[in-house]
Amino acid sequence: MTPISAGTSLKVASAQKRPIDWAKVLAHIILIAGSIMFLMPFVYVVSTSLKTAGEVYSFPPEFIPDPVAWENYPDALTAMPFDRFFLNTIFLAVGRILGLTLSCSLAGFAFAKLRWKGRNTLFFVVLLTLMIPTEVTLIPRYILFTKLGWINSFAPLLVPGFFAENAFFVFLFRQFFMTMGQDLIDAARIDGCSFAGLFWRIIVPNAKPVFAVVAIYVIQNNWNSFLLPMIYLTDRAKYTLALGLRLFNEQYYSQTHLLMAASVFVVIPIVILFFFMQRYFIQGVVFTGSKG
């Protein structure tokens, strides 16, 4: 069977002058209604974050704040050291990107391109660990890091990253490297290139998209991460944005306008990253679904 690409049939269809396609009109109507429903919670939160304390409690809600209380943002962000939380989050993200891309890509390279005994067995173990829920390792890891004296430091969150903690990334790198041509690699080997040189000079420069996908994943997971930072980081000066927001939520429970301003602030870096790097976000998700 020869698959016809979607583009071909589209051109054929639009070449003929056709009357209004009511199915498409209906699809647009449903999609617009759906988009509004998906966007509304966010609009509502942003609007609340720009209201004065008095304006917040009105029913039916006013969507356009009057006056616009821009001061909510500085007020909320200085009520707690959010700059510190932000830097901590960035620091963890950078550390985890370094650790995970390095260790997972090296393992992926060995699984994809090198011939060695035990390769298939170990790769099977990698696949098995994909199925293990994080809860099972939660307590022994906590005990291990307690005994090592690592509680209230970034080490429990950073160190496992340097040991290819994420089996899915190993899998992702391996699958990508598998698709890379063998001739280039063989040529480099004949020219006397070492395996490490091969990795640095041939594989890495030709695999930038997969590194970008993994880096984006790490940033997103890191912004999202809550349970692990909460059990390991006890000192407020070491808090991440997620932990800071949770604390803010407890202490400013009733000051909804400030609370919404803080939660919008936490979300904005990810939204910006999303708009600029959408391609990599989507590639990662699609890869998970279709080949995972």
Binding site: S35, Y57, A107, R119, P133, M260, V266, I270
Partner: protein, 305 residues
């Protein structure tokens, strides 16, 4: 993967093997210390009573027996199972529905895709804080929406019968990643299948049932398993929005486990809880795969019927 081994162009080189082992060494060490080791350790710890400060006391199956008399264990299992049974199928239906609409070759597809996907990338703690306000009884967006239709909305997070449905509703805001996966799957269906169905006189519904669904069924199976595992890891939403209440109606399994481990420092009991969860998920996953043969269709597979 296996083909390499069959052909074996030359004998395995010692130097190449050595390099390979060095490259996978970080993963091996990580596996031993952070995954494999801890899994075994948690099994051993589950047979003890241990608060970390004092030495552990061997209690055999004590923790597992204790579980049978712990009403909160059963409550958390019930809450999480209901959530999984309702939220996961709903997420699949909604995600697939949006994906099908987006697959109709219409304009602005990129804009729609961005809008539907965006909520799925937002950090969960922010989403939880935001939705506590959105679900507020007197000032929330949802109850305002209902009031437009003359419905007086409940106190979503303060009434035991509404708190879990509220969290399920909120989870639908994040269907964007599932939607993307279905969209990719739908775009991979060869269009001549639809043309053949049309020739055979199939309408839109028939071609959905006999072409789209079978072709997309492996993706649905994958999303079902992933969704199930994710449902058993729900934590931040109840922790921030309801603290498991009211009346334990949102006491998710992981929240119960967390409290035992990090509030009551019952590491043995919490480890036993984690093993029961592990087994429960494994059995459910096996059951899903066992019964998937009946409804999942793989291309190239011939079925005798």
């Amino acid at each position: 993967m296996l083909i390499h081994n069959i052909f074996k162009p030359k004998r395995l080189s010692f130097w190449e093997s050595l390099n390979a082992w060095v490259f996978v060494a970080p993963w091996i060490l990580g596996f031993i210390f952070f995954t494999g080791g801890p899994i075994l350790a948690s099994l051993v710890i589950s047979f003890t009573e241990w608060d970390i400060v004092n030495p552990p006391v061997w209690t055999g199956l004590g923790n597992y027996k204790l579980m049978l008399s712990d009403p909160l264990f059963f409550q958390s299992l019930k809450v999480t199972t209901i959530y999984a049974l309702v939220a996961v199928p709903l997420q699949i239906v909604v995600g697939l529905f949006i994906a099908i609409l987006l697959n109709t070759k219409i304009r602005l597809i990129g804009v729609y895709r961005t809008l539907f996907y965006l909520p799925a990338v937002l950090p969960i703690v922010s989403v939880a804080v935001m939705w506590r306000w959105i679900l507020s009884r007197d000032w929330g967006l949802i109850n305002w929406f209902l009031s437009v239709f003359g419905v007086y909305g409940p106190g979503w997070l303060s009434e035991p019968e509404w708190a879990l449905p509220a969290l399920i509703l909120m989870s639908l805001w994040g269907v964007g990643s599932g939607m993307l996966i279905y969209l990719a799957g739908l775009q991979g269906i060869p269009s001549d299948l639809y043309e053949a169905a049309k020739v055979d006189g199939a309408g839109a519904w028939a071609s959905f049932v006999y072409v789209t669904l079978p072709m997309i069924s492996p993706v649905i199976l994958f999303q079902l398993v992933v969704g199930l595992i994710a449902a058993f890891q729900v934590f931040a939403q109840p922790f921030i929005m309801t603290q498991g209440g009211p009346q334990n109606s949102t006491l998710f399994y992981l929240l119960h486990l967390f409290r035992n481990a990090f509030e009551f420092f019952r590491m043995g009991y919490a480890s036993a809880l984690s093993w029961v969860l592990f087994m429960y998920i494994a059995v459910l996953t096996l059951l899903i795969f066992r019964f998937s043969a009946a409804w999942v269709f793989y291309e190239g597979e011939i079925k005798d019927e």
